[in-house]
Protein backbone atom coordinates (compact mmCIF):
# COMPACT_ATOMS: atom_id res chain seq x y z
CA UNK A 1 0.00 0.00 0.00
CA UNK A 2 2.82 2.41 0.86
CA UNK A 3 3.97 1.71 -2.68
CA UNK A 4 0.48 2.40 -4.05
CA UNK A 5 0.56 5.97 -2.80
CA UNK A 6 4.12 6.78 -3.85
CA UNK A 7 4.90 10.48 -4.15
CA UNK A 8 4.69 10.11 -7.94
CA UNK A 9 1.01 9.05 -7.70
CA UNK A 10 0.11 11.57 -5.00
CA UNK A 11 1.76 14.37 -6.97
CA UNK A 12 -0.36 13.56 -10.04
CA UNK A 13 -3.47 13.36 -7.80
CA UNK A 14 -2.90 16.65 -6.02
CA UNK A 15 -1.75 18.53 -9.13
CA UNK A 16 -3.15 16.61 -12.10
CA UNK A 17 -1.91 17.38 -15.60
CA UNK A 18 -4.35 18.03 -18.46
CA UNK A 19 -7.31 18.55 -16.15
CA UNK A 20 -10.31 20.40 -17.53
CA UNK A 21 -12.34 20.50 -20.72
CA UNK A 22 -11.14 21.52 -24.19
CA UNK A 23 -13.68 23.62 -26.05
CA UNK A 24 -14.01 23.34 -28.96
CA UNK A 25 -12.96 19.71 -29.28
CA UNK A 26 -13.16 16.96 -31.90
CA UNK A 27 -13.76 13.97 -29.69
CA UNK A 28 -15.52 13.61 -26.35
CA UNK A 29 -16.49 10.70 -24.14
CA UNK A 30 -17.63 10.25 -20.53
CA UNK A 31 -17.93 7.09 -18.48
CA UNK A 32 -18.07 5.97 -14.89
CA UNK A 33 -16.62 3.40 -12.53
CA UNK A 34 -19.52 1.16 -11.47
CA UNK A 35 -17.80 0.34 -8.19
CA UNK A 36 -17.92 3.86 -6.84
CA UNK A 37 -19.92 5.86 -9.38
CA UNK A 38 -16.97 8.15 -10.09
CA UNK A 39 -17.35 9.85 -13.44
CA UNK A 40 -14.66 10.89 -15.87
CA UNK A 41 -14.84 12.73 -19.18
CA UNK A 42 -12.20 13.35 -21.85
CA UNK A 43 -12.04 15.89 -24.66
CA UNK A 44 -9.57 15.63 -27.53
CA UNK A 45 -8.47 17.99 -30.31
CA UNK A 46 -7.06 16.37 -33.45
CA UNK A 47 -4.25 17.71 -35.63
CA UNK A 48 -5.10 19.12 -39.10
CA UNK A 49 -4.69 15.67 -40.70
CA UNK A 50 -7.33 14.42 -38.24
CA UNK A 51 -5.35 11.24 -37.69
CA UNK A 52 -3.40 12.21 -34.58
CA UNK A 53 -4.02 13.83 -31.22
CA UNK A 54 -3.02 17.48 -30.88
CA UNK A 55 -4.38 18.12 -27.38
CA UNK A 56 -6.28 16.33 -24.66
CA UNK A 57 -7.91 17.06 -21.31
CA UNK A 58 -9.77 14.98 -18.74
CA UNK A 59 -12.28 16.04 -16.11
CA UNK A 60 -14.23 14.52 -13.26
CA UNK A 61 -13.68 13.57 -9.65
CA UNK A 62 -12.36 10.37 -8.31
CA UNK A 63 -9.80 8.58 -6.20
CA UNK A 64 -6.06 9.13 -6.30
CA UNK A 65 -5.55 6.08 -8.49
CA UNK A 66 -8.08 7.08 -11.15
CA UNK A 67 -6.99 10.73 -11.21
CA UNK A 68 -3.27 9.94 -11.32
CA UNK A 69 -3.89 7.33 -14.01
CA UNK A 70 -5.74 9.88 -16.17
CA UNK A 71 -3.05 12.48 -15.59
CA UNK A 72 -0.28 10.06 -16.59
CA UNK A 73 -2.20 8.60 -19.54
CA UNK A 74 -3.08 11.97 -21.05
CA UNK A 75 0.52 13.22 -20.66
CA UNK A 76 1.65 10.73 -23.28
CA UNK A 77 -1.06 11.29 -25.86
CA UNK A 78 -0.06 14.41 -27.77
CA UNK A 79 1.30 13.51 -31.19
CA UNK A 80 0.08 9.92 -31.04
CA UNK A 81 -1.92 8.69 -34.00
CA UNK A 82 -5.49 7.54 -33.41
CA UNK A 83 -4.48 4.10 -34.68
CA UNK A 84 -1.73 3.90 -32.07
CA UNK A 85 -4.15 4.93 -29.35
CA UNK A 86 -6.75 2.38 -30.45
CA UNK A 87 -4.07 -0.34 -30.32
CA UNK A 88 -2.91 0.69 -26.85
CA UNK A 89 -2.47 -2.18 -24.39
CA UNK A 90 -4.01 -1.48 -20.96
CA UNK A 91 -1.11 -3.41 -19.42
CA UNK A 92 1.21 -0.62 -20.54
CA UNK A 93 -0.78 1.92 -18.51
CA UNK A 94 -0.71 -0.32 -15.44
CA UNK A 95 3.04 -0.64 -15.92
CA UNK A 96 3.47 3.08 -16.33
CA UNK A 97 1.66 3.70 -13.05
CA UNK A 98 4.54 1.76 -11.58
CA UNK A 99 2.72 0.71 -8.40
CA UNK A 100 1.07 -2.58 -7.50
CA UNK A 101 -2.68 -2.25 -8.16
CA UNK A 102 -4.74 -4.75 -6.15
CA UNK A 103 -7.76 -6.46 -7.71
CA UNK A 104 -10.19 -4.13 -5.93
CA UNK A 105 -8.63 -1.05 -7.53
CA UNK A 106 -8.06 -2.16 -11.13
CA UNK A 107 -11.15 -0.35 -12.43
CA UNK A 108 -9.91 2.85 -10.76
CA UNK A 109 -6.62 2.49 -12.60
CA UNK A 110 -8.20 1.67 -15.96
CA UNK A 111 -11.15 4.10 -16.03
CA UNK A 112 -9.06 6.66 -17.95
CA UNK A 113 -8.10 3.99 -20.50
CA UNK A 114 -11.78 3.06 -20.95
CA UNK A 115 -12.85 6.68 -21.40
CA UNK A 116 -10.04 7.32 -23.88
CA UNK A 117 -10.96 4.24 -25.92
CA UNK A 118 -14.61 5.34 -25.87
CA UNK A 119 -13.51 8.68 -27.36
CA UNK A 120 -11.23 7.33 -30.09
CA UNK A 121 -13.45 4.39 -31.00
CA UNK A 122 -16.60 6.49 -31.14
CA UNK A 123 -18.57 4.70 -28.42
CA UNK A 124 -18.39 2.80 -25.19
CA UNK A 125 -15.95 -0.10 -25.06
CA UNK A 126 -16.01 -3.03 -22.64
CA UNK A 127 -13.77 -2.98 -19.59
CA UNK A 128 -10.45 -4.56 -20.55
CA UNK A 129 -9.96 -8.08 -19.19
CA UNK A 130 -7.31 -6.68 -16.85
CA UNK A 131 -10.05 -4.82 -14.93
CA UNK A 132 -12.33 -7.79 -14.31
CA UNK A 133 -11.64 -8.69 -10.74
CA UNK A 134 -14.42 -7.24 -8.67
CA UNK A 135 -18.16 -6.94 -8.32
CA UNK A 136 -20.34 -3.88 -8.07
CA UNK A 137 -21.56 -2.95 -4.58
Amino acid sequence: MDNLYRDFILEHYKRPHNKGTLDPHDLHFADSNPTCGDEMSMTLVLDPSRTAIADVAFDGRGCAISQASASILTDGLRGQSLDEVRAMDPKDLLEELGVPIGPARLKCALLSYKVLQGAVQGGEVAWPAEAEAEAVG
Binding site: M1, D2, L4, Y5, L10, Y13, K14, T35, C36, G37, D38, E39, R61, G62, C63, A64, I65, G102, R105, C108, G137
Partner: protein, 422 residues
Protein backbone atom coordinates in the same frame (compact mmCIF):
# COMPACT_ATOMS: atom_id res chain seq x y z
CA UNK B 1 -5.44 -9.67 40.04
CA UNK B 2 -6.99 -6.57 38.54
CA UNK B 3 -9.25 -7.07 35.56
CA UNK B 4 -8.01 -5.42 32.38
CA UNK B 5 -10.44 -2.58 31.59
CA UNK B 6 -11.01 -3.88 28.07
CA UNK B 7 -12.11 -7.23 29.48
CA UNK B 8 -14.98 -5.64 31.40
CA UNK B 9 -18.38 -5.24 29.73
CA UNK B 10 -18.76 -1.89 27.99
CA UNK B 11 -22.24 -1.51 29.44
CA UNK B 12 -23.64 -2.91 32.70
CA UNK B 13 -24.93 -6.45 32.26
CA UNK B 14 -23.39 -6.61 28.79
CA UNK B 15 -20.18 -8.08 27.43
CA UNK B 16 -16.67 -7.15 26.41
CA UNK B 17 -16.02 -7.01 22.67
CA UNK B 18 -12.36 -7.74 23.41
CA UNK B 19 -13.34 -10.99 25.12
CA UNK B 20 -15.82 -11.96 22.42
CA UNK B 21 -13.15 -11.69 19.72
CA UNK B 22 -11.77 -15.02 20.90
CA UNK B 23 -15.07 -16.59 19.74
CA UNK B 24 -14.22 -15.66 16.15
CA UNK B 25 -11.38 -17.54 14.45
CA UNK B 26 -10.92 -14.76 11.89
CA UNK B 27 -9.34 -12.51 14.51
CA UNK B 28 -6.44 -14.98 14.78
CA UNK B 29 -5.66 -14.25 11.15
CA UNK B 30 -2.63 -12.03 10.55
CA UNK B 31 -3.25 -9.07 8.25
CA UNK B 32 -0.89 -8.16 5.41
CA UNK B 33 -0.06 -5.01 7.36
CA UNK B 34 1.17 -7.12 10.25
CA UNK B 35 -1.32 -5.33 12.51
CA UNK B 36 -4.28 -6.90 14.29
CA UNK B 37 -7.49 -7.09 12.25
CA UNK B 38 -9.88 -4.32 13.23
CA UNK B 39 -13.10 -5.35 11.51
CA UNK B 40 -15.49 -2.45 11.00
CA UNK B 41 -17.59 -3.80 8.13
CA UNK B 42 -20.29 -5.90 9.79
CA UNK B 43 -22.93 -3.94 7.88
CA UNK B 44 -21.67 -5.57 4.67
CA UNK B 45 -21.38 -9.06 6.16
CA UNK B 46 -20.38 -10.19 9.63
CA UNK B 47 -17.68 -12.61 10.74
CA UNK B 48 -18.90 -15.98 12.04
CA UNK B 49 -18.30 -17.25 15.55
CA UNK B 50 -16.79 -20.72 15.94
CA UNK B 51 -20.13 -21.96 17.32
CA UNK B 52 -21.80 -21.28 13.97
CA UNK B 53 -19.01 -22.89 11.96
CA UNK B 54 -18.99 -25.87 14.35
CA UNK B 55 -22.78 -26.29 14.18
CA UNK B 56 -22.59 -26.38 10.38
CA UNK B 57 -19.67 -28.78 10.37
CA UNK B 58 -21.50 -31.04 12.84
CA UNK B 59 -24.68 -30.93 10.74
CA UNK B 60 -22.83 -31.89 7.58
CA UNK B 61 -20.78 -34.55 9.35
CA UNK B 62 -23.38 -36.27 11.51
CA UNK B 63 -26.92 -35.08 10.75
CA UNK B 64 -27.15 -34.54 7.03
CA UNK B 65 -29.80 -35.91 4.71
CA UNK B 66 -32.48 -34.19 2.67
CA UNK B 67 -35.35 -32.76 4.71
CA UNK B 68 -39.10 -33.46 4.55
CA UNK B 69 -38.50 -36.53 2.36
CA UNK B 70 -36.73 -39.52 3.77
CA UNK B 71 -38.57 -42.06 5.91
CA UNK B 72 -35.44 -42.90 7.79
CA UNK B 73 -33.70 -41.79 10.94
CA UNK B 74 -31.07 -39.56 9.37
CA UNK B 75 -33.60 -37.56 7.33
CA UNK B 76 -35.86 -37.19 10.36
CA UNK B 77 -32.85 -35.94 12.32
CA UNK B 78 -31.97 -33.39 9.60
CA UNK B 79 -35.61 -32.28 9.32
CA UNK B 80 -35.90 -31.78 13.09
CA UNK B 81 -32.76 -29.63 13.16
CA UNK B 82 -33.80 -27.63 10.07
CA UNK B 83 -37.28 -26.99 11.48
CA UNK B 84 -35.81 -26.12 14.90
CA UNK B 85 -33.85 -23.38 13.13
CA UNK B 86 -37.12 -22.05 11.69
CA UNK B 87 -38.51 -21.94 15.22
CA UNK B 88 -35.45 -20.00 16.41
CA UNK B 89 -35.96 -17.38 13.69
CA UNK B 90 -39.63 -17.08 14.63
CA UNK B 91 -38.81 -16.61 18.33
CA UNK B 92 -36.00 -14.17 17.50
CA UNK B 93 -38.36 -11.76 15.73
CA UNK B 94 -41.45 -12.39 17.83
CA UNK B 95 -43.41 -14.16 15.07
CA UNK B 96 -46.62 -15.76 16.36
CA UNK B 97 -45.92 -18.97 14.46
CA UNK B 98 -42.90 -20.60 12.84
CA UNK B 99 -45.17 -21.44 9.91
CA UNK B 100 -44.93 -17.76 9.00
CA UNK B 101 -41.16 -18.01 8.49
CA UNK B 102 -40.10 -18.67 4.90
CA UNK B 103 -36.44 -19.53 4.36
CA UNK B 104 -34.89 -17.69 1.43
CA UNK B 105 -31.32 -16.90 0.35
CA UNK B 106 -31.23 -13.42 1.83
CA UNK B 107 -33.27 -10.26 2.39
CA UNK B 108 -32.99 -9.41 -1.31
CA UNK B 109 -34.67 -12.68 -2.28
CA UNK B 110 -37.34 -12.18 0.37
CA UNK B 111 -38.21 -8.74 -1.05
CA UNK B 112 -38.28 -10.17 -4.57
CA UNK B 113 -40.58 -12.93 -3.36
CA UNK B 114 -43.06 -10.39 -2.01
CA UNK B 115 -42.72 -8.18 -5.10
CA UNK B 116 -43.41 -11.08 -7.44
CA UNK B 117 -45.99 -12.96 -5.44
CA UNK B 118 -47.92 -10.37 -3.44
CA UNK B 119 -47.09 -7.50 -5.78
CA UNK B 120 -48.12 -9.01 -9.07
CA UNK B 121 -51.35 -10.27 -7.51
CA UNK B 122 -52.35 -7.12 -5.67
CA UNK B 123 -50.87 -4.15 -7.48
CA UNK B 124 -52.76 -3.06 -10.58
CA UNK B 125 -52.36 -0.37 -13.23
CA UNK B 126 -52.92 3.03 -11.68
CA UNK B 127 -52.12 1.82 -8.13
CA UNK B 128 -49.40 3.38 -6.02
CA UNK B 129 -46.83 2.12 -3.57
CA UNK B 130 -44.17 3.85 -1.52
CA UNK B 131 -40.54 3.26 -0.67
CA UNK B 132 -37.96 5.76 0.55
CA UNK B 133 -34.83 7.48 -0.66
CA UNK B 134 -33.03 5.95 2.32
CA UNK B 135 -33.30 2.36 1.09
CA UNK B 136 -30.74 -0.18 -0.01
CA UNK B 137 -31.09 -0.97 -3.73
CA UNK B 138 -32.66 -4.30 -2.67
CA UNK B 139 -35.68 -2.37 -1.39
CA UNK B 140 -35.90 -0.15 -4.48
CA UNK B 141 -35.17 -2.11 -7.65
CA UNK B 142 -37.70 -4.96 -7.13
CA UNK B 143 -40.40 -2.30 -6.61
CA UNK B 144 -39.28 -0.35 -9.68
CA UNK B 145 -39.57 -3.54 -11.71
CA UNK B 146 -42.97 -4.38 -10.24
CA UNK B 147 -44.52 -0.94 -10.69
CA UNK B 148 -43.14 -0.56 -14.21
CA UNK B 149 -44.48 -3.97 -15.16
CA UNK B 150 -48.02 -3.48 -13.87
CA UNK B 151 -48.26 0.24 -14.63
CA UNK B 152 -48.32 1.39 -11.02
CA UNK B 153 -46.53 4.39 -9.51
CA UNK B 154 -43.62 4.18 -7.07
CA UNK B 155 -43.22 7.14 -4.71
CA UNK B 156 -40.13 7.86 -2.60
CA UNK B 157 -40.18 9.41 0.85
CA UNK B 158 -37.54 12.16 1.10
CA UNK B 159 -34.66 12.31 3.59
CA UNK B 160 -33.88 15.24 5.88
CA UNK B 161 -30.47 16.94 5.95
CA UNK B 162 -29.49 14.86 8.98
CA UNK B 163 -30.48 11.58 7.39
CA UNK B 164 -33.93 10.93 8.85
CA UNK B 165 -37.03 10.07 6.91
CA UNK B 166 -39.15 13.15 6.34
CA UNK B 167 -42.36 12.11 8.10
CA UNK B 168 -44.31 15.02 6.64
CA UNK B 169 -43.37 13.76 3.21
CA UNK B 170 -44.33 10.23 4.25
CA UNK B 171 -47.72 11.55 5.33
CA UNK B 172 -48.15 13.25 1.96
CA UNK B 173 -47.17 10.09 0.06
CA UNK B 174 -49.51 7.97 2.18
CA UNK B 175 -52.34 10.38 1.51
CA UNK B 176 -52.20 9.33 -2.14
CA UNK B 177 -53.51 5.89 -1.17
CA UNK B 178 -50.61 3.47 -1.75
CA UNK B 179 -51.18 -0.25 -1.26
CA UNK B 180 -47.74 -0.92 0.23
CA UNK B 181 -44.97 0.89 2.06
CA UNK B 182 -41.54 -0.79 1.85
CA UNK B 183 -39.17 0.71 4.41
CA UNK B 184 -35.89 -0.15 6.13
CA UNK B 185 -35.74 -0.49 9.90
CA UNK B 186 -32.16 0.82 9.78
CA UNK B 187 -30.39 2.56 6.90
CA UNK B 188 -27.34 0.60 5.75
CA UNK B 189 -25.72 3.71 4.29
CA UNK B 190 -26.31 6.22 7.11
CA UNK B 191 -27.18 4.12 10.16
CA UNK B 192 -30.47 5.93 10.80
CA UNK B 193 -32.95 3.97 12.92
CA UNK B 194 -36.40 4.73 11.55
CA UNK B 195 -39.35 5.25 13.93
CA UNK B 196 -41.01 2.05 12.75
CA UNK B 197 -43.94 1.92 15.16
CA UNK B 198 -44.99 5.43 14.18
CA UNK B 199 -44.42 4.78 10.47
CA UNK B 200 -46.38 1.51 10.53
CA UNK B 201 -49.28 3.13 12.37
CA UNK B 202 -49.36 5.95 9.81
CA UNK B 203 -49.29 3.51 6.89
CA UNK B 204 -52.01 1.29 8.31
CA UNK B 205 -54.19 4.29 8.98
CA UNK B 206 -53.80 5.15 5.30
CA UNK B 207 -54.70 1.58 4.32
CA UNK B 208 -51.21 0.49 3.18
CA UNK B 209 -49.48 -2.73 4.13
CA UNK B 210 -45.91 -2.40 5.42
CA UNK B 211 -42.85 -4.43 4.48
CA UNK B 212 -39.90 -3.87 6.83
CA UNK B 213 -36.37 -4.46 5.55
CA UNK B 214 -34.68 -5.55 8.77
CA UNK B 215 -31.38 -6.64 7.19
CA UNK B 216 -29.51 -3.98 9.21
CA UNK B 217 -31.71 -4.14 12.30
CA UNK B 218 -32.19 -7.84 13.10
CA UNK B 219 -28.45 -8.34 13.76
CA UNK B 220 -28.21 -5.37 16.11
CA UNK B 221 -31.38 -4.78 18.13
CA UNK B 222 -34.47 -6.58 19.40
CA UNK B 223 -37.18 -7.10 16.78
CA UNK B 224 -40.77 -7.99 17.59
CA UNK B 225 -43.05 -8.20 14.58
CA UNK B 226 -46.13 -8.71 16.74
CA UNK B 227 -45.43 -5.50 18.68
CA UNK B 228 -44.46 -3.59 15.52
CA UNK B 229 -47.61 -4.67 13.71
CA UNK B 230 -45.92 -4.79 10.31
CA UNK B 231 -47.12 -7.13 7.56
CA UNK B 232 -43.84 -8.45 6.11
CA UNK B 233 -40.31 -8.41 7.50
CA UNK B 234 -37.13 -9.62 5.82
CA UNK B 235 -33.64 -10.40 7.10
CA UNK B 236 -30.32 -11.86 5.94
CA UNK B 237 -28.43 -14.49 7.95
CA UNK B 238 -24.97 -13.43 6.84
CA UNK B 239 -25.21 -10.01 8.49
CA UNK B 240 -26.13 -11.52 11.87
CA UNK B 241 -23.23 -13.92 12.46
CA UNK B 242 -24.86 -16.63 10.33
CA UNK B 243 -23.78 -18.11 7.02
CA UNK B 244 -24.38 -16.58 3.60
CA UNK B 245 -27.10 -18.14 1.46
CA UNK B 246 -29.81 -18.09 4.13
CA UNK B 247 -32.32 -15.43 5.07
CA UNK B 248 -35.91 -15.23 6.10
CA UNK B 249 -39.19 -13.69 5.10
CA UNK B 250 -41.82 -13.29 7.79
CA UNK B 251 -45.33 -12.51 6.64
CA UNK B 252 -48.71 -12.47 8.33
CA UNK B 253 -50.25 -15.90 7.83
CA UNK B 254 -53.34 -14.74 5.97
CA UNK B 255 -51.19 -12.76 3.52
CA UNK B 256 -48.85 -15.69 2.88
CA UNK B 257 -51.81 -18.05 2.51
CA UNK B 258 -53.36 -15.86 -0.17
CA UNK B 259 -50.15 -15.38 -2.15
CA UNK B 260 -49.25 -17.56 -5.15
CA UNK B 261 -45.87 -19.34 -5.21
CA UNK B 262 -42.78 -17.39 -6.24
CA UNK B 263 -40.80 -20.36 -7.54
CA UNK B 264 -42.26 -23.75 -8.33
CA UNK B 265 -40.93 -27.29 -8.30
CA UNK B 266 -40.43 -29.96 -5.67
CA UNK B 267 -41.50 -29.65 -2.01
CA UNK B 268 -43.89 -26.80 -2.64
CA UNK B 269 -46.68 -29.00 -4.00
CA UNK B 270 -49.23 -31.33 -2.47
CA UNK B 271 -50.08 -33.10 -5.68
CA UNK B 272 -48.83 -32.96 -9.25
CA UNK B 273 -50.67 -34.45 -12.20
CA UNK B 274 -49.91 -34.13 -15.90
CA UNK B 275 -52.52 -31.38 -16.00
CA UNK B 276 -51.36 -29.26 -13.09
CA UNK B 277 -50.42 -29.03 -9.43
CA UNK B 278 -51.84 -28.09 -6.04
CA UNK B 279 -49.72 -25.95 -3.75
CA UNK B 280 -48.46 -27.04 -0.38
CA UNK B 281 -49.20 -24.97 2.73
CA UNK B 282 -46.97 -22.11 3.87
CA UNK B 283 -44.06 -22.01 4.34
CA UNK B 284 -43.45 -25.03 2.06
CA UNK B 285 -45.37 -23.29 -0.74
CA UNK B 286 -42.51 -20.77 -0.98
CA UNK B 287 -39.62 -23.21 -0.55
CA UNK B 288 -39.30 -25.00 -3.88
CA UNK B 289 -36.43 -27.46 -4.17
CA UNK B 290 -33.99 -28.67 -1.54
CA UNK B 291 -33.44 -25.73 0.80
CA UNK B 292 -30.21 -24.44 2.32
CA UNK B 293 -30.47 -27.01 5.11
CA UNK B 294 -27.14 -26.57 6.84
CA UNK B 295 -27.18 -22.80 6.33
CA UNK B 296 -30.50 -22.68 8.17
CA UNK B 297 -28.97 -24.70 11.01
CA UNK B 298 -26.03 -22.27 11.01
CA UNK B 299 -28.43 -19.33 11.24
CA UNK B 300 -30.07 -21.07 14.20
CA UNK B 301 -26.66 -21.30 15.91
CA UNK B 302 -26.05 -17.59 15.20
CA UNK B 303 -29.39 -16.76 16.80
CA UNK B 304 -28.41 -18.87 19.82
CA UNK B 305 -25.18 -16.89 20.10
CA UNK B 306 -26.96 -13.53 19.87
CA UNK B 307 -29.77 -14.58 22.21
CA UNK B 308 -27.21 -15.70 24.75
CA UNK B 309 -25.63 -12.22 24.64
CA UNK B 310 -29.08 -10.61 24.77
CA UNK B 311 -30.24 -8.35 21.96
CA UNK B 312 -30.79 -5.46 24.38
CA UNK B 313 -27.15 -5.81 25.40
CA UNK B 314 -26.03 -5.97 21.77
CA UNK B 315 -27.88 -2.72 21.07
CA UNK B 316 -26.48 -0.99 24.18
CA UNK B 317 -22.94 -2.19 23.39
CA UNK B 318 -23.11 -0.75 19.87
CA UNK B 319 -24.77 2.44 21.10
CA UNK B 320 -21.84 2.97 23.47
CA UNK B 321 -19.34 2.39 20.66
CA UNK B 322 -21.30 4.72 18.37
CA UNK B 323 -21.33 7.54 20.92
CA UNK B 324 -17.57 7.32 21.45
CA UNK B 325 -16.81 7.04 17.76
CA UNK B 326 -19.15 9.86 16.76
CA UNK B 327 -17.67 12.19 19.40
CA UNK B 328 -14.12 11.33 18.31
CA UNK B 329 -14.84 11.76 14.59
CA UNK B 330 -16.77 15.00 15.11
CA UNK B 331 -13.55 16.59 16.41
CA UNK B 332 -11.53 15.77 13.30
CA UNK B 333 -11.25 18.77 10.95
CA UNK B 334 -12.09 18.09 7.31
CA UNK B 335 -14.37 15.17 8.18
CA UNK B 336 -18.07 15.27 7.39
CA UNK B 337 -20.44 12.94 9.23
CA UNK B 338 -23.76 11.71 7.88
CA UNK B 339 -26.95 10.66 9.62
CA UNK B 340 -28.47 11.81 12.90
CA UNK B 341 -26.15 12.69 15.80
CA UNK B 342 -28.62 11.31 18.36
CA UNK B 343 -27.52 7.82 19.38
CA UNK B 344 -31.13 6.90 20.18
CA UNK B 345 -31.88 6.92 16.44
CA UNK B 346 -28.49 5.96 15.04
CA UNK B 347 -27.26 2.36 14.87
CA UNK B 348 -23.60 1.31 15.00
CA UNK B 349 -22.93 2.52 11.46
CA UNK B 350 -20.96 5.69 10.73
CA UNK B 351 -20.69 7.04 7.21
CA UNK B 352 -18.22 9.84 6.65
CA UNK B 353 -16.42 11.89 4.02
CA UNK B 354 -12.85 13.13 4.24
CA UNK B 355 -12.18 16.34 2.34
CA UNK B 356 -8.77 15.43 0.96
CA UNK B 357 -9.21 11.77 0.07
CA UNK B 358 -11.64 9.71 -1.94
CA UNK B 359 -13.35 6.91 0.06
CA UNK B 360 -11.58 4.25 -1.99
CA UNK B 361 -8.23 5.75 -1.10
CA UNK B 362 -9.35 6.01 2.53
CA UNK B 363 -10.25 2.31 2.61
CA UNK B 364 -6.93 1.36 1.03
CA UNK B 365 -4.93 3.37 3.58
CA UNK B 366 -7.10 1.92 6.38
CA UNK B 367 -6.36 -1.57 5.06
CA UNK B 368 -2.69 -0.90 5.62
CA UNK B 369 -3.53 -0.09 9.23
CA UNK B 370 -5.39 -3.39 9.58
CA UNK B 371 -8.74 -1.58 9.60
CA UNK B 372 -11.44 -3.06 7.35
CA UNK B 373 -14.17 -0.59 6.32
CA UNK B 374 -16.52 -0.27 3.37
CA UNK B 375 -16.00 2.45 0.77
CA UNK B 376 -18.52 3.11 -1.93
CA UNK B 377 -22.16 3.91 -2.42
CA UNK B 378 -23.27 1.01 -0.19
CA UNK B 379 -25.89 -0.08 -2.74
CA UNK B 380 -27.75 3.10 -1.84
CA UNK B 381 -27.05 5.50 -4.69
CA UNK B 382 -30.19 7.60 -4.06
CA UNK B 383 -28.72 8.41 -0.62
CA UNK B 384 -25.43 9.51 -2.21
CA UNK B 385 -27.44 11.64 -4.64
CA UNK B 386 -29.24 13.30 -1.71
CA UNK B 387 -25.95 14.54 -0.28
CA UNK B 388 -24.23 15.11 -3.66
CA UNK B 389 -21.35 12.76 -2.94
CA UNK B 390 -20.15 9.81 -5.04
CA UNK B 391 -19.45 7.57 -2.08
CA UNK B 392 -18.68 7.50 1.62
CA UNK B 393 -16.40 5.56 3.90
CA UNK B 394 -18.47 3.49 6.32
CA UNK B 395 -17.41 1.99 9.65
CA UNK B 396 -19.89 -0.41 11.23
CA UNK B 397 -19.71 -1.97 14.66
CA UNK B 398 -20.73 -5.30 16.12
CA UNK B 399 -20.38 -7.38 19.25
CA UNK B 400 -16.62 -8.06 18.87
CA UNK B 401 -15.67 -4.38 18.61
CA UNK B 402 -14.32 -2.37 21.52
CA UNK B 403 -12.92 1.07 22.30
CA UNK B 404 -9.48 0.04 20.97
CA UNK B 405 -11.16 -0.40 17.58
CA UNK B 406 -12.48 3.16 17.76
CA UNK B 407 -8.93 4.34 18.51
CA UNK B 408 -7.68 2.35 15.51
CA UNK B 409 -10.35 4.03 13.38
CA UNK B 410 -9.36 7.55 14.42
CA UNK B 411 -5.63 6.76 13.98
CA UNK B 412 -6.32 5.41 10.50
CA UNK B 413 -8.18 8.63 9.64
CA UNK B 414 -5.24 10.70 10.81
CA UNK B 415 -2.82 8.52 8.81
CA UNK B 416 -4.96 9.10 5.72
CA UNK B 417 -5.07 12.84 6.27
CA UNK B 418 -1.30 12.96 6.72
CA UNK B 419 -0.73 11.06 3.48
CA UNK B 420 -3.11 13.19 1.45
CA UNK B 421 -2.36 16.57 3.03
CA UNK B 422 -1.27 19.02 0.36
Amino acid sequence: MAVEPALKPLVPGGFSGTVLRSDFAVFDRPTRSGKRLVFLDAAASSPKPRSVVDAMSDAYSHHYANVHRGIYELSEDATTRFEAARGKVAAFIGAPSKREIVFVRNATEAINLVAYSWGRTNLKAGDRMVTTQLEHHANIVPWQQLTQEVGATLDYVAITDDGRLDLDDLRAKLAMGPKLLAVAAVSNALGTINPLSEIIAMAHEAGALVLVDAAQAAPHMPIDVAALGCDFLVLSGHKMLGPSGIGALWGRRELLDAMPPFMTGGSMIIKVTMEGAEWNEVPAKFEAGTPAIVEAIGLGAAIDYLTNLGMDNVREHEKYLFEHAWAALAEIPGLRLFGPADSAIHAGVISFWLDDAHPHDVATVFDNEGVAVRAGHHCAQPVMLRYDIPATTRASFYVYNDLDDIDALTSAIRATQTLFAD
